[in-house]
């Protein structure tokens, strides 16, 4: 989970890193208590905030504090609405640096990245090292140790200070924070942060419902990754890897997926039923693609029957084409029954097994959904 600046700074402060005096504004009508000169900083998750007008410095009394706050709250930064503004005392600094801890796939361990300069780090002599505090200027070692504490104590994937500055008196300040928490360590982290959405919008009802299917039931996974997309082909994809392969294939052909989701690890039929109901509740669908590779151990009969159980509850009854491609344990049994169900209950099933290339069913789906128009 990517944290907002003010959330990251709370963790910094907690480990003794010096951050400017501040106040968090949640509406434009709140009175600003931080003394001039000050900085207003829009709290958004997208990068390049300064370039998009998200940071405003107010120095003298002549400038309108209220006007700036109002303006910031009505700004959209890279499509993201500003809901909170952090007000900070302005720090008069002399030197600025970049400092972070993260994990590297090259060394397959934690690394320290350090260099001179603030925003626009690339190409400013910023270098990555194994975690070794002796590469740092003496005056920064203590802050770096504290940042390392943030990184390890809170199970971060990234803990970054940019810029890290030194003022005239030699004091070290963290002027910004970028922290990414490792979601896999949520179970042992004692601080919790509210859910957020990277798409710059609140999560949809379907996203909320899909992501709780797995709660309290560890048998396989279904829907814990779910994103609504602007298209009209519902996709019920299997496998963390295969799902992406199939999405690539559909997009390449000009197909427009209505959602992205995965199920894997042999989830029980109830989970597939719930997930199917959520996905197919979307209005305006032109097709449904149930697709996956040749599973190692996911029971194809159970997952497909879960799909059918969900399908039966969709009102009005779907008349759009439903393309199914799957392989793995009990697949033949599942297909026999599906053919029967399709005939008896009037679903437009197009069923393919492991002998049909997985990604080739993307073309079949697209053509059935949109008509036989080549792109």
């Amino acid at each position: 989970m990517l944290l907002y600046e003010f959330e990251g700074k709370k963790l910094f402060k907690d480990c003794g890193i010096q951050v400017p005096e501040s106040q968090l504004l949640e509406s434009e009508s709140q009175r600003v208590r931080v003394k001039l000169p000050l900085v207003f900083k829009a709290q958004v998750l997208s990068g390049k905030r300064a370039d998009s007008g998200g940071i405003v410095v107010v120095k003298g009394k002549g400038e309108s504090v209220k006007g700036e706050v109002k303006k910031l709250f009505s700004t959209k930064i890279n499509g993201e609405r500003v809901e909170k503004v952090l007000v900070e005392e302005a720090i008069d600094w002399e030197k600025e640096y970049y400092l972070s801890f993260s994990y590297s796939t090259e060394t397959r361990g934690p690394v320290l990245t350090f260099g001179e300069g603030g925003t626009g780090v690339e190409g400013k002599g910023v270098k990555t090292y194994p975690v070794d505090f002796s590469v740092l200027p003496k005056e920064l070692v203590e802050t770096a140790q504290k940042l390392w504490q943030v990184f390890t104590k809170y199970d971060c994937e990234l803990a970054e200070i940019n810029p890290l500055v030194i003022d005239k008196a030699g004091k070290v300040w963290a002027l910004d924070s970028k922290v990414i928490l490792d979601d896999d360590a949520d179970f042992r982290r004692d601080v919790k942060f509210p859910q957020r959405n990277l798409f710059g919008r609140a999560p949809t009802q379907r996203e909320i419902e899909a992501r709780i299917i797995d709660e309290g039931d560890h048998r396989g996974t279904a829907g814990s990754v779910y994103w609504d997309l602007p298209g009209d082909i519902a996709v019920i994809a299997a496998g963390g890897g295969g799902s992406i392969v199939n999405m690539d294939a559909l997009l390449n052909l000009g197909g427009k997926p209505a959602n992205y989701t995965e199920h894997s690890g042999n989830p029980p039929r109830e989970k597939l039923k719930k997930l199917t109901k959520i996905i197919l509740s979307k209005p305006g669908l032109k097709g449904c693609w149930f697709v996956g590779g040749t599973a190692n151990f996911t029971d194809i009969y159970e997952t497909l029957m879960g799909f059918v159980e969900g399908l039966r509850e969709i009102k009005p009854k779907p008349t759009y084409p439903i393309v199914i491609r799957r392989g793995g344990p009990r697949d033949k049994e599942a297909f026999e029954e599906l053919k029967d169900i399709g005939k008896k209950e009037g679903f437009d099933f197009h069923i393919y097994g492991r002998e049909t290339p997985m990604t080739s069913t993307a073309k079949i789906m697209k053509e059935l959904a949109y008509g036989n128009i080549s792109n």
Binding site: L2, S46, G47, Y103, T105, E106, R108, G109, P110, T152, D155, E157, I180, D182, D183, D184, A185, F187, R188, L198, F199, G200, T221, V225, W227, A238, G239, G240, G241, G242, S243, I244, V245, M247, D248, A249, L251, N252, Y260, E262, S264, G265, G292, G293, T294, A295, N296, F297, G327, G328, P329, R354, E355, P357, M358, T359, S360
Partner: protein
């Protein structure tokens, strides 16, 4: 021969009394893999599918000194402790099925394993299979025979499902596999493509290699570099997925933790470019792979 899983493989299962552990124990036995012992703290003395259970790895090793491979199927919060126990006892090969292990724990485990010269495959690994010889992990499920067949093509895949799909495509086209390995889709993995290519290079039974990669991280680029430096001389066919993921906002999490993009690093383009320039043949769909191997 094959790599990692051979006739000499003798397995210990950590977490054998759990749902996954016991299921995989039976699968491995049915496929002819020698499963000598299991460990679950506090459950020593039991038997699971005829496999004796011990409280600690040390105890299992005392009774079965032949153990040379550990299969880890414990919950994520207990994974580091379990892996460390096997490393401390110098079991040379550890295959980790467990998903969602905190990255900090994985990093610590990898560092420890390096020190003790222990090899880790995973986390989030579907397993390792040398068709006709044996398997470690849930790869192939109850009956690997329909999908995996003995032959001379090695397969390394970040995705477990795609390891199976690719092997099936090969088998369908009468191309057997020497060893198929799921390295897992996490950000940090114990063994990368290049690490395993070193073994495949030495393996006489392997004549060509299929890599199944994904956006995110640098393991595909590292594999390309490995080929460029002349360390891998056999033909390589590579497939990289994830163009779709690049259409999502940066940092969007998908099922594989490693399939995540920040900035330019780890992009589809970067991976394809480096693999192509190293001389690997790029498959645009998984079904092209058999033809490209010919």
């Amino acid at each position: 021969m094959a790599i990692l899983v051979t006739e000499k493989t003798k397995v210990l299962i950590q977490g054998i009394t759990g749902k996954e552990g016991s299921k995989v124990a039976l699968q491995m036995k049915n496929y002819g893999t020698k499963v000598l012992a299991g460990v679950t703290p506090g459950k020593g003395g039991q038997e699971i599918h005829g496999v004796p259970v011990y409280n600690t790895v040390a105890e299992a090793l005392e009774n079965h000194p032949g153990i040379n491979t550990s299969f880890v199927a414990v919950p994520n919060f207990a994974a580091f402790g379990a892996i460390k126990e096997s490393i401390d006892n110098k079991i040379p090969l550890i295959n980790i099925l467990t998903e969602h292990i905190p990255i900090q724990d994985t990093a610590k485990a990898i560092a420890l394993a390096r020190k003790k010269n222990v090899r880790i495959i995973g986390p989030s690994s579907i397993g390792i299979i040398s068709p006709g010889i044996g398997k470690v992990g849930s790869i192939g499920g109850d009956d690997p025979r329909g999908v995996y067949s003995k032959g001379s093509v090695g397969v390394i895949s970040k995705s477990g499902g795609m390891a199976s799909e690719v092997s099936w495509i090969l088998t369908k086209n009468n191309i057997g596999q020497s060893t198929v390995i799921g390295i897992g889709g996490d950000i940090l993995v114990g063994s990368s493509f290049a690490d395993l290519m070193e073994d495949f290079e030495k393996d006489d039974a392997t004549k060509a290699l299929v890599l199944f990669g994904e956006i995110g991280g640098t393991y595909e680029e590292e594999a390309a570099e490995f080929i460029k430096r002349g360390k891998f001389s056999k033909p390589v066919v590579a497939f990289v997925s994830g163009l779709f993921a690049e259409t999502l906002p940066q940092g969007t999490k998908l099922g594989h933790a490693g399939a995540i993009i920040y900035g330019e690093k780890g992009s589809y383009k970067s991976k394809i470019k480096s693999l192509e320039s190293a001389g690997a043949i790029i498959a645009k769909t998984p079904d092209e792979i058999p033809n490209l191997l010919k």
